[in-house]
């Protein structure tokens, strides 16, 4: 729902990094978004494409990598898919499960010249 404000923060970081490295044209922006981050990739792309016009990132392609929701059992250490509701560890039955990935929302790298 707030993809436009996320796109604005994203563009700010991209332009700052490009400027810091003396680049004047950004060609690619690679971001990682966790499956549980409540961010819709198509909306983020739409918003980013809308606001990048007229900036050094105008030609940048937004590449979104989805990070799956994964958990790890605190009792036995087994890893499991957390995209649905997981009530207990499938191996040992423990209910102490820690979310290990799926909430990411970060810029991994950019390509610029």
């Amino acid at each position: 729902m707030h993809e436009l404000s996320i796109a604005q923060s994203l563009l700010g970081i991209v332009l700052q990094e490009a400027g810091r490295h003396g680049a004047n044209r950004v060609t690619k922006v690679a971001v990682k978004i966790g499956a549980l981050a409540s961010v819709v990739p198509s909306s983020l792309t739409f918003s980013f494409d809308l606001i990048k016009e007229g900036t050094p990132a105008a030609d940048a392609v937004l590449e979104i990598e989805r990070v799956p929701a994964m958990g790890i059992c605190r009792a036995c250490g087994v890893r499991m898919d957390m995209s649905g509701l997981v009530e207990a560890c499938p191996d040992c039955g423990s209910k102490e499960i820690e979310l290990s990935s799926g909430q990411e929302l970060y810029v991994d790298h950019i390509e610029a010249e």
């Binding site: 729902m1 707030h2 404000s5 996320i6 923060s9 994203l10 700010g12 970081i13 991209v14 990094e17 490009a18 490295h21 680049a23 060609t27 971001v31 549980l36 981050a37 409540s38 509701l85 997981v86 009530e87 209910k95 102490e96 979310l99 929302l105 970060y106 810029v107 991994d108 790298h109 950019i110 390509e111 610029a112 010249e113």
Partner: protein, 216 residues
Amino acid sequence: MAEIEVGRNILEANQTLAEALRKRFAAQGIKVLNLISSPGAGKTSVLEQTLRRLGGRLRCAVIEGDIQTDEDAQRVAACGVPAVQIQTQGACHLDGPMIGEALDALELEGLELLIIENVGNLVCPVDFDLGEDMKVAVLSVTEGDDKPSKYPALFRAAGVLLVNKIDLLPYIDCDLERIHATCRTLNPQQKVFDISCRTGEGLGDWVAWLESWVRG
């Protein structure tokens, strides 16, 4: 063509500000709650009931977030507690800068508990740290027992869940046990209170717990 490693959180600006707010609150000994629910779950009623039952035993203040109007701030002020209204003018959540600005209008000296009532929305407010010590989720039984599994992010992140409007349970098809079971799965450490702001049921337990949490 060069590849530039970045590795920066897209919400870093908000996160940095939230951490600064958290330090400021801790330095002044203020506990902070971020109250989140869908529109109409009863956040403001919970606030009114909580503040009235605390009866001045804790020095409280409230920051009210709404898309429009200051009706909620007026309701809270009627309980004798300082309240600042933030009108987001359409934004679906509160963020760190809005809280920083609202604090300018509050006397923080001597304050023990600050409650931030977020914009009614089960999704977006969860992503924006406001420097709070704890998120409190309010879910009304009329919304349905499937909400925690459909919107897991809030129910996973909330330290306390208030299940409101339980006086309506005889009239609707809502399985209270399903709400409890799903939330236990999402967050085994979560403290849960079943309450009715209309009849007062469960509010005594919640307020007693809150008071000892603030003092603890």
